[in-house]
């Protein structure tokens, strides 16, 4: 080795030359030593190793059975948050995330007040192209309202590429979901986020800014607004006050009544269960919502699903763990039925949602550790995607809710069983 052509001053530490001896006669000892190392690994591999300070033992995580530990800071895909209590989305469409996004996959339009045409601090449509998203997390970092956060859900694979262009309905998650997956990170920003939200709610007229999943809340809000309008009107004819939904003041059909009844029962059953945690189970990941045109059969099927879900939830609450009820297949069957229900069948939807919530609560109460969402997403994905995509979002949401209810109940059952 020639002397090094230039000297480098090393203030601390020193230059060490690696130890090697090329001239040593070797007789196979190194081979045996290597074999000994491998033998040690083979011998020790019959026990599991989950520790950082161990270098032996099997490290494999058998994935579907055993889930990897996901740290709080884990970021996969962005999601939008809405408030559980008021139902309002946190997003105000400030376009910060759209601007920062390095691959430019966030697209949004600002909501406008239908009366005045002025922009409202709420988002009308919000699209993220998951397929091009690089999960850098800048959107979540820059969002001043903490409306966009990074999800922990990573099972996003699909055989339909277009499903990876995700719309607002599928992006929305309740705050409670995020608080569950990232408690400390949410706790840091909770105060300011909710404060800002309260300020924004005041500037949102009508139902703008409400998460479309929460159709009951939208309905309630509409009723409230209608009642205000009715009071404000000087002319006070004998209003058919019984009708809760003034937009379509129709009488309830017997079927709708039955659905309502089912929903109430479901709610009661769930309350009877030991649903201590108020946290809601997660809704499905942006799952394909096969939109059939609403029709009475579908309507009925949805109701049926709701009733079954209610029953299942009741059973689960009672602590029985029989075989899985056939609710889930039925629900997906309902999905597949090409049908057309008038969008006004609100009662049925309401029932479905209540059932869903009840069941979800039961599920969350009993098995909070189970990662949510997966089975729901899975079942929904089972439904053929060829249904015409013409149904209004609220209708979709109702059916989704019904399915989720069924799935939650199912999961509850299987969770108890296992």
């Amino acid at each position: 080795m020639t002397a090094s052509p230039f000297e480098i001053e090393i203030p601390r530490g020193r230059v060490i030359e690696v130890q090697r001896d090329d001239t040593r006669v070797r007789r196979g000892g190194g081979l045996l030593r290597g074999m000994a190392v491998v033998w040690k690994h083979w011998k020790e591999s019959f026990k599991l190793n989950r520790s950082y300070s161990q270098i032996h033992g099997t490290f494999t995580i058998e994935y579907p059975e055993e889930r990897p530990r996901i740290p709080e800071a884990y970021r996969n895909m962005p999601i939008l948050l809405y408030d559980d209590e008021t139902g309002h989305e946190l997003c105000t469409s400030c376009f910060q995330c759209e601007r920062i996004c390095p691959p430019q996959v966030i697209h949004m339009t600002q909501a406008k007040d239908p009366a005045t045409g002025k922009p409202v601090p709420a988002v009308a449509e919000f699209i993220i192209e998951y397929d091009a998203c690089m999960s850098c997390g800048f959107c979540a970092e820059v969002c001043p309202f903490d409306a966009i956060k990074m999800d922990h859900e990573f099972e996003l694979s699909t055989d339909d590429h277009t499903q990876l262009t995700v719309h607002k309905e599928q992006l929305l998650r309740p705050i409670s979901y995020y608080a569950k997956i990232a408690p400390t990170m949410w706790a840091e920003v909770r105060e300011s986020a909710l404060k800002k939200l309260q300020g924004n709610i005041r500037r949102r007229p009508d139902v703008i800014g409400l998460a479309p999943q929460l159709t009951e809340k939208i309905a309630a809000r509409r009723a409230e607004l209608a009642a205000q309008a009715a009071q404000a009107a000087a002319a006070a004819p004998v209003a058919p006050a019984a009708a809760p939904a003034p937009a379509e003041g129709r009488k309830l059909t017997p079927e709708e009544k039955a659905a309502k009844l089912a929903a109430i029962r479901a709610a009661k059953a769930a309350q009877a269960g030991e649903s201590a945690t108020p946290a809601e189970a997660a809704p499905a990941t942006p799952s394909p919502t096969p939109a059939g045109e609403a029709a009475p059969p579908a309507d009925k099927a949805a109701k049926l699903a709701a009733i079954r879900a209610a029953n299942a939830a009741k059973k689960a609450a009672a602590g029985e763990a029989p075989a899985t009820p056939p609710a889930a297949p039925d629900a997906s069957a309902a999905e597949t039925t090409p049908s057309a229900a008038p969008p006004s069948d609100k009662a049925a939807r309401l029932a479905a949602i209540r059932a869903a919530n009840a069941a979800k609560k039961a599920a969350a109460g009993e098995a909070p550790a189970t990662p949510p969402a997966t089975p729901a997403g899975g079942t929904a994905a089972d439904a053929p995607a060829d249904a015409p995509p013409a149904a209004p979002p609220s209708d979709k949401a109702a059916r989704l809710a019904a399915i989720r209810a069924a799935n939650a109940a199912k999961k509850q059952q299987s969770g108890d069983g296992s």
Binding site: D22, T23, V25, R26, R27, G28, L31, G34, M35, V37, V38, W39, H41, W42, S45, F46, N49, H56, G57, T58, F59, T60, E62
Partner: protein
């Protein structure tokens, strides 16, 4: 097989079949068994290898198909069968088709002389060992055909490497076996197994040793060196790490198999794993007594044998089961060692492999041959053969002398060879350089 069938059909059932019918039946039975056993061994070996090597790498290995993944090879086989069989446009179609057959056929033929248990050898050829190696050398032709017919540089290169490797390592393999053959005095595999009775020391070398079926050759210095040399050569013949150069994927993609797909590719794998099984089996047979083990000899002596026609057939079955158990146990242990080596070592370069074979292994086996001659001389020869030193020595002394002398020779040669080999490796480049500089 024939004896058994005769005893069963003509004896127990009293049907009185003619001899040729029994012969035919026994041959068909044997062939069927071999043809069924060979692929089964291959299937098991792929699974076994993958599980073991996964464990060595702190993984789990295939464990999804069936209990503990035991059906994984079946699933792989089904996949192989359903894959498209692609023949390159420029390939020589007939030779391309024939090559896998030529590679597989000898491996099945080699089963003909492998004894599974006492009296359980398909054909007891007097030249069994030679037959084994003669047949194994045929697959080299198949590899050459595959490499040439594919009309691909990588294939041809891989085939030429494979054949060069097989041909060169056949020499140390056969030379190391010849040492054993010299001691036994027979090429028959049954004879070689029969020699290895005793306890640590064969009771043919030193009469009076109790027969526990443990007088294996590996316990003698000659046998040990032969075993090491043979096992290394077997690794090279079976194209196992560190000698898996023909299919070194980091260099020449998949060697001669590059242009094969579907079941033809599967046939190459079949051939390779069956060959590995056979090499492990031969190692177990020659150096570790094959089916010999505590109890087998005694059990078999009670059964029906040519020497003892009035024995009890039940003992035959017991001895057979125990013998097959010992035999397979040893074979699988050797395959474990093969997998272990694969898990631990990188691969040699082709010229280093040739150097190792020709400059280290062959001198070592030649020296071992000399030791074997001395062993025979010390343990068996008398004044009649001109061995005058040992006149009047007791058998124990003769055995001890043989042991010490051969151990000294083998150890000395090993130490000397390693030194010379290392020096030759280091000096070659240097010498060439100096020559070049002198030429300038």
């Amino acid at each position: 097989m024939y004896d058994m069938l005769a005893a069963l059909i003509n004896g127990a059932l009293g049907w009185g079949w003619p001899e040729w019918a029994l012969n035919l039946l026994s041959y068909i039975l044997i062939v069927t068994i071999v043809l069924v056993v060979a692929p089964l061994q291959m299937l098991f070996f792929t699974y076994y290898e993958r599980r073991v090597i996964a464990r060595m790498q702190d993984r789990v290995g295939p464990n999804r198909v069936g209990p503990e993944g035991i059906w994984q090879p079946i699933a792989d086989g089904v996949k192989m069968f359903t894959k498209e069989d692609i023949v390159p446009q420029a390939a020589d179609r007939i030779v391309h088709f024939l090559a896998p057959c030529v590679v597989v056929a000898p491996t099945v033929l080699m089963f003909a002389v492998v004894p599974w248990g006492p009296g359980m050898v398909p054909v007891d050829l007097p030249t069994g060992l030679l037959f084994f190696f003669a047949i194994s050398s045929i697959s080299a032709v198949g590899l050459m055909m595959a490499g040439w017919a594919s009309n691909n540089k990588f294939s041809l290169l891989g085939a030429m490497r494979a054949v060069a490797q097989m041909v060169s390592y056949e020499i140390p393999a056969v030379l190391s076996l010849i040492a054993i053959v010299m001691i036994v005095g027979s090429l028959s595999i049954n004879e070689i197994i029969a020699y290895q009775t005793g306890l640590i020391i064969s009771n043919r070398d030193l009469p009076g040793i109790p027969d526990l079926g443990l007088g294996w050759f590996v316990f003698t210095p000659v046998g040990f060196v032969a075993f090491i040399a043979f096992f290394i050569a077997a690794l090279a013949e079976g194209e196992r790490t560190p000698f898996d150069i023909p299919e070194a994927d980091s260099e020449i993609v998949a060697g001669y198999m590059t242009e094969y797909s579907g079941m033809k590719f599967g046939l190459f794998y079949l051939a390779q794993y069956v060959l590995n099984f056979l090499l492990c089996a031969i190692t177990a047979i020659i150096f570790f007594g094959g089916w010999q083990g505590p109890g087998v000899g005694w059990l078999y002596a009670q059964g029906i044998t040519p020497d003892n026609p009035n024995g009890n057939g039940l003992f035959n079955v017991l001895a057979g089961v125990l013998g097959v158990f010992y035999f397979l146990l040893k074979t699988y242990i050797f395959f474990f060692v093969m997998v272990w080596l694969r898990g631990a070592f990188p691969r040699l370069r082709i010229d280093q492999l040739m150097d190792f074979g020709w400059k280290f292994l062959i001198p070592l086996t030649l020296a071992n041959l000399f030791s074997a001659a001395l062993w025979v001389a010390f343990t068996r020869w008398g004044p009649a053969e001109g061995m005058l030193i040992t006149v009047g020595w007791s058998p124990v002394l003769r055995w001890l002398a043989a042991f010490v002398v051969t151990l000294a020779i083998n150890l000395g040669v090993y130490l000397w060879l390693t030194r010379v080999y290392a020096a030759s490796q280091a000096e070659r480049r240097r010498a060439e350089l100096e020559e070049l500089s002198a030429a300038a």
